[in-house]
Structures are given as C-alpha cells and as structure tokens.
C-alpha cells in the first residue's frame, strides 16, 4: 500500500512546478497552464486525502475544482484574445500601460 505521505509529496512537487512556471514564464498562455497544474496538484491532494480519510468530500471537491478550472480558463483565454486584438501580444511583460 502506498502511504498518504507519498501522494502528498507528489502533489506538492506538482504544485511547486506550477508555481515555478508562473514565476518563470512571461507567456500568458503558459502561465495559465501552470495555474492549471497548481489546481491539479490540489485535486490530487484532495482525492488522496478523501481516500485516506474515508469520505467522498474530497472527490466532490475535486470535481467542482475541475468545473471551476474550465470556467476560469475560458475567461482567461477570452481576456487574452481581447488583449491580442488590441496589442498583438500575449507576453505578460508587454502589459506596460499600467505601472506594476
């Protein structure tokens, strides 16, 4: 049997990779993908915890997360499309009208 610890470690590694992606990449699309990775890391932790806690709450939570992630990605991509129409770029660092 695989102990819960291993699942959590895998999930945290995926989380760390996602966070690194958000910091590293300037392409908004890849940033989104990294965000998806973080959400998936949480899903994995939820489902594993659900199995080891003996209730289904975590799985249902993960199910909702997937739904939310889908909605979020759609909105994010729409914003990118709108931005691209204006500026012909998807680089986060090109968003310079506003000061950071």
């Amino acid at each position: 049997m695989i102990p819960l610890e291993h699942w959590i470690i895998v999930s945290s590694c995926l989380f760390a990779i996602g966070v690194a992606g958000v910091i590293l990449r300037r392409n908004a699309l890849v940033v989104y993908m990294s965000l998806e990775m973080i959400l998936n890391a949480s899903n994995l932790a939820l489902v594993a915890a659900s199995r080891y806690n003996g209730n289904l709450d975590g799985q249902v939570f993960a199910f909702f997360t997937i739904a939310v992630a889908a909605a979020e990605v759609a909105v994010g991509l729409a914003i990118i499309v709108a931005l691209f129409r204006l500026k012909q770029t998807v680089q986060v660092s090109d968003v310079t009208t506003l000061k950071l």
């Binding site: 996602g18 939820l46 909702f64 979020e72 909105v75 931005l83």
Partner: protein, 548 residues
Amino acid sequence: MNSSNILHVLNLLTPEIVLCGLAFGVLLLDIIFFRSDSVEHRHEQLGCSVIIGLVMVFFIYALQYMDWQNTFVVGHGAFVASRLNTLFKMAVVGLALITVVIGFKTPYSTHVGEYYGLMLFSVLGMVFLISSEDLLMIFIALELISLTLYVLTAFQKGARRSVEGGLKYFIFGGFSAAFLLFGLSYIYGATGHTSLREIAGALQGDQLAKVPMKMLGIGILFTLVGLGFKIAAAPFHLWAPDAYEGAPTPVAAMIATGSKIASFVALTKLLLIGLPAAAGSALSWPTRWHSGWAGTVAIIAVLSMTIGNFAAIMQTNVKRLLAYSSVAHAGYILVAIVAIQASGVPAPSAAPAIYFYIIIYALTNIGAFGVVNAIGSKAGGDDFEHFTGMARRSPYLSLLMLIFMLSLAGIPPLAGFFGKFYLFAAAVQADPKNLGLLWLVAYAIAMSAVSLYYYLKLTKQMYVLPAKDPRRVTSNPAMNTSLGLIGLMVLLMGVFPNKVVERFENLNANPYPIWEAAVPPPPQPEIPVPAPAEKPAVPAPAAPAPKS
C-alpha cells in the same frame, strides 16, 4: 431531504432565487425587447429594472432579518442563514444598488444586459460567500465573484487599460485561487472535513492530537495567501491598483466594496468558526508569540499598513490612491482579526468591530468611487490634475469627497474615526491585563497618522489649488441624492455609532439556536448544535505549534 424540507430550504433561499431570476431577467429583457434600442436607452431601462429588482431583494432580506430568531444550516454549512449573514447580504445588495446608481449615465459598453447580468451574478457570489460555512462553497462562491469581476474589469474592450487591468487581475486572481485551493485541500487533508464547524470539531480537545498540525499549518498559510489576494492585503496586493485604475469606475467600486465585504466575512468565519484552535498568539513578541495564524495575520497586517500607506503617498491617480488606501485599511482590519483569538479565548468585541469597520469602509469607499465616477466622467479622467480646483467647480461633490477622505483618514466625527477606535479598542481588549497587542495597535495608529497626509493631498487638489478650467461640473440628481445619503450615513454612524454597535454585539454574542438542515424552529431540531451563532461555545485552547 423530504419535500417539506426542500420547501423550507427554498423559503430560506427566496432572495437568492429572486436575485438569480433578476439576472436572467435582465439578460433576457435585453435580448428580447431592447435589442434595437440605442445604448443609452437600454442602459436607462435595464438600469431601472435592476434598481427595482435590487430594492425588492433588499426588502426581502430586511423581512427575513426581522423575521428570524434562529440560525438555519443547509447542507452541513454550505448555506447558513442567520441574522448576521442577512445583515451583510443587505449591505452587499445595498452597495450593488449604489454601484448601479453611480454608473447609471455612464455606459461603458454596448453590452448593457450582460453588464448588469454579470454584476448581478457577482452579487450572487457575494451573497453565497457570506452565507457559506463550508470550504467548498467558499471556494465556489469566491470564484463566482472573481470570474465575473475579471470580465467586468476588462469590459471596456476598446480601452487598453481596461483589458490590461483585467489580464493582471486575472493572472493574480487565478494564482491566488490556486493557492487558496491548495491550502483548502491541505486543511481538508489534515482534518478530513469541509464544513467549518466539523473542522472546528476535529480540532477540539483530545481530537487535536490526531490532526497533523504541520500540514494544517501549511494549509492555513496558503489559504491566508489566497484570501489575502482577495482582500488586497500586502504583499498580495499588486493587482489592486491596476485593476482599480483599469476597470470602469462602478466595477472598481464593486471590487473595492462588495467583494471586500464578502471576502472579509469569509476570512473571519474561516478563522473564527473553523480554525480557532490553530490561532496561536501574537502577543508581545517574542516572549508570548506562539506560532499559529494569529502571528501570520499580524505580519500581513503590518506589511499591509506599511506598504499601503507609503505607496499611497506616491500616487497621482485617485483610483490608485484608493487602491493603496484599501490595502492599508485591510491591514487595520487584520489587526482586529489577530485579536479574535489572541489570548486563547475570543475577544468579545473583535468580530463586531471587524463587521462594523468593513461596513463603514465599504460605505465610505463606494461614496468616494461615486464621486470619482461623477467627476471623472465629466472632467475627462481620474488623475489628480482632473480634480484640481474642484471645490469651485462642484462644491457639493467636493464636500462629499472631503467627508469621505476624512472618514477614511479617521477624523471625528465621521464614521471612520469610530470604526478605527472600535477596531483598535477591540484589539487591545484581546489581552487587557498585559496590553499584549498594544504594539500592533500602536503601529496601526501611527500608520493612520501617515495616511492623513495623502488624503489631505487629494483634498488639497480639490480645495486649495485654483481651477484651470472654470466650467462647473454637475451630476444627475439620482447620483447626487444617493451620494448625499451616503455622506449623511457616514456622518451619522460616526456621531451615533451606539445603535449599530449594539446591534452587531448582540448578533455576535446572542447564541441564537442553530438548526441543522433547516427545520422550522418550533418542532424538534434534527441536530441542535450547542454552539453560539458566530463562535464556538467552548473556547479552544491555543494550539501548540500548528505549523513549522
């Protein structure tokens, strides 16, 4: 769930259902009847219907508020109907109403129906967030608010600022949501529950030993980061100035007020109901500092007050100024959140003080945004230079802005002063014998002395400098009236705060019976939980080192 049960749940949810129907109605009305009208016309007609609908919802909430003596719990805390929650929902709906009024004559887009529809969906999200005591529901409601606000921020598709503000808001918001979710998954992993009361139960007494505290600590930390983004606390505030500046002003007002109220209520509930056992202590560093969320929140509070106030000094755009000032105000509120559980037992005034302050804060800010919208749309922008000499061009709006700024700075007799006094008094009250939190309160008071500088800088533009453009600036009567009412309320709540305070203290302290699964009060409750409405009955002991 039997049928009478479902009917009762529907009864509880009436205002939310009406609100939902209103959103659909606005969308359909626009598509079916007004498609061919001019934008202004559609804006007026739909705006009026939204206002009427929101007033209706407001009154349903008011009826519920007067009617209820009990707290009803639906679905293990997914929806908790209590008087306190209803009060906040009234506040949120009222703020939405004002938002619609202040944006009334300034259409930002040709998609009028969708504009109002999304706004109403956002309000729905806030309403559900306020009444949720369940991690899952908190997450979904937060996302509903965020997604609609991302879209609304980028709603002026032709304007670069708007879309870029939207993108920045989205990326930071998405990142924060991911953090929040990761934190929630750890909290669930550590305790095995999603309902806040069940989590609190899992952390009580001898149960505590079974909980992996380090994992819980990580979960709480990441959750705080996620919610910190939502309430724009430093260092998670970077999106706020851009989103405020880029978004259409009514949307910025909504981000700054309604969504703030809802997020603060959620944060307070999460920490107060779900995790009081993991509070630790932030008293008199370093001797009485125990690790727990109290210490983390204290650090976030200090950072927010410092960064918010000092960055605000440098701003030359009114909306950015308001954004940084809201960062600072989040810091003040967090001071009281630290105090909630500072010495192991709940400070009696802390939660009411937080509630009072966020209401005051939201009211003042929506007023300020209203003035910014009224002046900005006529003067051509919302930089400081557009406000120069406004006292001559528009004495009424300038006077209101003066009131709002001084209230934010905490000058009596305006509401902001008493709000701050209440917050800080509550924080000191957490450990009255040793004045353990006085260090934090003293810092907050010092920072609020700094804040007067930039609020006065803005009013200087309006009152002291001469106008370059002598033409008068006027706004429509509806806007004038509603802004005037807000100004009056800010004044009255500062001069006579006792009634409001009394109400909050009662709502917070009086343990209304809680009825699981929503049964009408007289018959037997299914699972009566012996806890008071807003805090656990048994003061949980301070947790030993919940996180590394």
